[in-house]
């Protein structure tokens, strides 16, 4: 059970959160301008790194806000959390 530091509420049990997959995959400005392959990449392709991974989380049973977290997928450490619109922090 991760202890996830919601940037609005502070540390809360993982059970309060919903997972939203890889962060920083913006909805394309003009989807019709994309080829089928580019659109398929937006829809279906996500990174699967072993190590730091920026992810979207939603504090669904709390403040109901979406935010981003960098989680190490190998150790489950949450290395940083930041609000929507804030830049991805540099993880050293």
């Amino acid at each position: 059970m991760l202890l996830i530091p919601c940037p609005w509420c502070g540390p809360r049990d993982e059970a309060e959160f919903g997972y939203g997959g890889q962060a920083h995959v913006p909805y394309p400005e003009d989807p019709t301008a994309l080829t089928d392959e580019e659109w398929a990449r937006y829809l279906f392709f996500r990174n699967n790194p072993k190590g730091p991974h920026p992810e979207r989380w939603c504090h669904a049973a709390g403040c109901r806000r979406w935010f981003n977290a960098v989680r190490n997928t190998a150790t489950n450490e949450i290395l940083a959390v930041y609000r929507v619109g804030e830049p991805r922090p540099v993880i050293v």
């Binding site: 059970m1 919903g18 003009d30 994309l34 939603c58 109901r64 150790t75 489950n76 929507v84």
Partner: protein, 946 residues
């Protein structure tokens, strides 16, 4: 009184004044409070508890704790419980149990006991109340840190409970912690799981040891959910065996277990013992047994030079055979004699000697209990000096102290524990103000010799009875067969041979298995490694994990404001998500089919009404609400006029239908959406996700108002008459109040929003009122409609009526692979909007294929009611497998209006197949069906305005 021939005349931590009667395998016995079932059986002279699961060999009590591989029992009374180690069952009066060869039986009656859960936070959690754990907990508590000390035994002391002299400070430290305001001692509590961020689960056995005397007000077991800043694992070590011929016979026991039976339970596990050891610790067992009057025939030590402990044994008159090994046992079923030969450089030499003995104690070394550490993500390292795996690094805030990290002497454990506790408290932000009291145990001046690491004793006749895993009946021969077949990884060998996969999860056999495999492969144990440990450390009952979340508390049940009326009028209910919805309302003597036929007829021919309050409702407000909804729905919403209603469909970005419902425009900047009943929360989440993560600049806000409105659907050609009578201010004619319009008016004097929406094709109204008016509205409609035969109807009738019209239900007729176009609803997809969620996907080649599965209706021959989920095939004979499938049935009903059965189906190129004959395999039969368009009833839509 039943004799206890092996009970020692004095000593032990049992209450001789509290005799307890119990039965095992049909025989009556007696033991004492403080016994385990295992110690009481041994006191009666019972070693064998069952036979083994695969080979049916007699097996006896092998250990004195949770690591027990053999003595697995079924409790029969007071309440049946399967597969408990007899070594962990505290004896109580009236216990009835039996031995189990491998598999238990769950109770068939409901468990009357209560189970519950607690959530706790602490600065330092200490697991294990042996010397190291007690020292750690005391050191941490003295800093003022909040400490929880959890231990599976009824009293603190750990391994000391099995020694001859347990120092007073163990109980004193326990009392000190009990008295400390910020410390909590959890006895009979097994920490079984270690998860991320120092979240640990523990099972507390609160009343199990009281049997039928357990007060019903107390929960039997409690699951503790503990979040700890710092964890100290003082989980001790398990002794392991050595693989030699016949090492599984009843009467073979781990040396420290025998010592525990003598000292803690005042039981002699036999009359005449041989001790086989690879290290010093077994000499303590030999001396304690001798002091208790057991005749110790010999200590067989695999080490050529055993050191001071052997000298002490020799001085006590015990024969020590250095550089020897036990080569076999005989006796039926229990050990009667033990064969010994000299062992030199892994070869047996010299003549064999036989010792008559009914007890053979074995000590093949000690395995630190690193299970929780490994669960925490910690790495284990093979320590060649110890001949065992010890904890190495871990990213979590955890320390390991005492025997759990290979410190085996008492002063070392006390110092190690105190240090770990102090540093854990400091890392949690506390200061160790007072110096630690000196440890009270003195070190021994005795010259100790290092342990030998002996995994297998050779022959004499193969390795077929050299057992490694007693519970799975895995022998050295089995491991040799597996390595001979080419397996190399310890994980593969475990799965191939099943070693370590039983109820005990290989607690006594895991390291031995690794050692034997390493020897077979000619590699170092360190190179081979060990298997991964996963929770739970010991089995946990489902009842305990479920806790109070059983029966009606398992999942919240949602009911509408009209629920009591439905109950009072005999409704049968069905579950839709968490909602309890009226399914149909049978009258006297009616079955479901008759009730649904009557309800359908009322809706199509007269007037009927249903409780539609469970529809999800979302209020969307803000200057950009229209723009926002245009992006969400496939059709245009922003052009909707205030006062009007529009049906809409939402897709996922992949173009597949996600939800459908109506949108009401309440004001220029305010809309009310309805969603399908089961999807309300998902739709709100979906809207929030897009608003927050993609379009934070849009000024729009969403609020769930599902429970703020009660909704009654009034349906049928005569519904207008009923409404007109109750809403005198409302112009109800089709011109003044057209289809897909809404009006605010009083209905039966109640403020209401009336919508002209139909989910049946008939003239219909949805009347929305505040929920506390719901019953008054409903009863007024019932009264006013009675002369017209108004009929309440449930979800089944609603389904039949909508299916006759070809209206799909999202989630029943769709499955996440269906586009609006597949449903024949291209009309709901805007061509004008620049974009909406899913639009780009509708342009993909795949979504444009002509042979996609499309929604059609099916008319079965001979009025058969087809099963939902059935497949569709071409041809009246099944092709050879794999049979090409053309689609499947999504909805199937009997229709009064059509006078026949019908079905909806998703069929490959369905629209092109209209008129074709297909077949539905049902059992051995192929039922012919004719494909038609999905709208079977009133395709012209003539009935909408009544």
């Amino acid at each position: 009184m039943t004799p206890q021939p092996f009970r020692l005349p004095d000593g032990g931590r049992i209450s001789r004044g509290a005799p307890l009667a119990f039965r095992f395998d049909g025989v009556a016995y007696q033991g004492y409070r403080g016994d385990t079932l295992a110690s009481a059986l041994l006191a009666a002279g019972v070693h064998q508890t069952s036979t083994s699961v695969r080979l049916g060999r007699p097996r006896g009590i092998f250990t004195a704790g949770v690591e027990e591989p053999n003595a697995i029992v079924q409790i029969e009374a007071p309440f049946p419980e399967p597969m408990l180690p007899a070594t962990t069952v505290e004896l109580y009066d009236g216990l009835v149990a039996g031995g189990l060869p491998g598999q238990g039986r769950l109770a068939t009656e409901p468990d009357p006991a209560r189970y519950d859960a607690r959530y706790a936070h602490c600065d330092v959690l200490v697991v294990g109340a042996g010397p190291a754990g007690l020292a750690a907990a005391a050191a941490a508590a003295r800093t003022g840190a909040r400490v929880i000390l959890a231990d599976d035994q009824p009293e603190p002391g750990g391994s000391l409970l099995g020694t001859a002299e347990i120092p007073d400070w163990a109980a004193e430290t326990g009392s000190e912690l009990d008295a400390a305001s910020e410390a909590r001692v959890l006895r009979r509590t097994m920490v079984f799981g270690y998860y991320d961020d120092n979240y640990l689960l523990a099972a507390e056995r609160r009343t199990n040891h009281l049997g039928s005397q357990a007060p019903s007000r107390l929960s039997r077991e409690r699951i503790w959910h503990i979040r700890a800043r710092q964890v100290v694992l003082a989980t001790g070590a398990h002794e392991r065996s050595v693989a030699f011929a016949g090492n599984d016979r009843p009467g073979v026991m781990l040396a420290a277990a025998a010592r525990t039976y003598v000292n803690r339970y005042a039981v002699a596990p036999g009359r005449r013992a041989v001790v086989f050891t690879t290290g010093d610790s077994a000499y303590c067992a030999a001396l304690d047994l001798a002091a208790a009057g057991v005749d110790v025939a010999a200590v067989v030590d695999a080490r050529p030079e055993p050191g001071g402990a052997a000298e002490r044994a020799a001085r006590a008159g015990i024969e020590v055979l250095a550089g020897h090994a036990v080569t076999g046992t005989s006796g039926e079923p229990r050990v009667a004699s033990v064969a010994v030969r000299a062992l030199c450089a892994a070869e047996l030499t010299g003549p064999a000697r036989e010792f008559a003995a009914d007890l053979l104690l074995v000590s093949g070394g000690w395995n630190p209990v690193a299970h929780l550490f490994s669960q925490a993500g910690g790495q284990l390292r093979y320590d060649a000096g110890l001949g065992a795996f010890v904890p190495d690094g871990c990213r979590q805030a955890v320390r390991v102290a005492g025997a759990a990290r290979g410190v085996f002497d008492l002063p070392g454990c006390l110092a190690d524990g105190a240090e770990a506790g102090r540093r854990a408290a400091e890392d949690a932000g506390f200061t160790a103000a007072r110096p630690l009291p000196p440890t009270s145990a003195a070190g021994s001046a005795e010259r100790s010799a290092p342990s030998a690491h002996l995994w297998v004793v050779p022959g004499p006749d193969g390795f077929g009875t050299h057992f490694v895993d007693l519970q799975r009946d895995v022998t050295v021969a089995d491991l040799a067969r597996a390595t001979g077949a080419g397996l190399r990884s310890v994980e593969h060998l475990k799965r191939y041979t099943t070693a370590g996969t039983a109820h005990d999860q290989g607690k006594t056999s895991g390291v031995l298995t690794s050692g034997v495999i390493a020897q077979l492969l000619g590699v170092e144990v360190a190179e081979l490694g060990t298997t991964t440990f996963r929770p739970p450390y010991t089995p946990v009952s489902f009842a305990a994990l479920a806790g109070r979340n059983r029966g009606v508390l398992h999942d919240p049940v949602r009911v509408t404001a009209l629920h009591d009326w439905h109950l009072a009028h005999g409704a049968r209910f069905e579950n839709v998500g968490q909602w309890h919805r009226p399914w149909y309302y049978p009258r006297d003597g009616e079955d479901m089919a008759a009730a649904v036929a009557r309800e359908c007829r009322a809706a199509r021919e007269g007037v009927a009404f249903m409780d539609a309050s469970t529809l999800g409702k979302i209020d969307v407000q803000g200057p950009d609400a229209g723009d926002f909804l245009d992006r969400l729905y496939t059709n245009m919403i922003s052009t909707l006029r205030v006062g009007m209603i529009r049906y809409g469909v939402m897709c996922r970005a992949d173009g597949m239908v996600f939800d459908d419902g109506t949108v009401i425009r309440l004001a220029e900047d305010r809309f009310l959406l309805t969603t399908t009943t089961g999807n309300a929360a998902a739709v709100l989440d979906w809207m929030e996700e897009w608003l927050q993560t993609e379009w934070p600049d849009l000024r729009a806000h969403c609020t769930s108002v599902t429970e703020q409105w009660a909704t009654v659907a009034l349906v049928g050609p005569r519904s207008r008459e009923v409404l007109a009578g109750l809403a005198p201010q409302l112009a109800v004619d089709a011109c003044s109040f057209p289809f897909m319009a809404w009006r605010e008016t009083a209905v039966a004097g109640i403020p209401a929003r009336v919508c002209r929406i139909s989910f049946s094709g008939e003239l219909a109204y949805e009347i929305n009122v505040l929920p506390w008016y719901a019953t008054a509205l409903w009863e007024a409609l019932y009264e006013a409609g009675r002369p017209l035969g108004i009929t309440p109807y449930g979800t089944e009738t609603m389904h039949v009526l909508r299916a006759e019209k070809g209206y799909p239900i999202v989630g029943q007729d769709t499955d996440g692979t269906v586009t609006p176009q597949d449903l024949g609803m291209g009309w709901v997809v805007s061509k004008k909007k620049r974009d909406f969620i899913g639009k780009r996907s509708h342009l993909r080649a795949d979504t444009g294929r002509a042979d996609r599965k499309q929604l059609v209706a099916l008319l079965p021959q001979d009025d058969v009611l087809l099963p939902e989920g059935a497949q569709l095939v071409a041809g009246d004979r099944l092709a050879d497998p794999p049979v090409p499938m053309l689609g499947h049935i999504t909805s199937s009903y009997r229709s009064v209006a059509l006078g026949r059965t019908f079905a909806l189906a998703l069929v490959r190129s369905g629209r092109e197949r209209v008129g074709e004959r297909l077949y539905v395999p049902v059992g051995e039969e192929l039922i012919p069906v004719t494909v038609t368009g999905p709208v079977l009833y009133d395709p012209e839509g003539a009935r909408r305005d009544g």
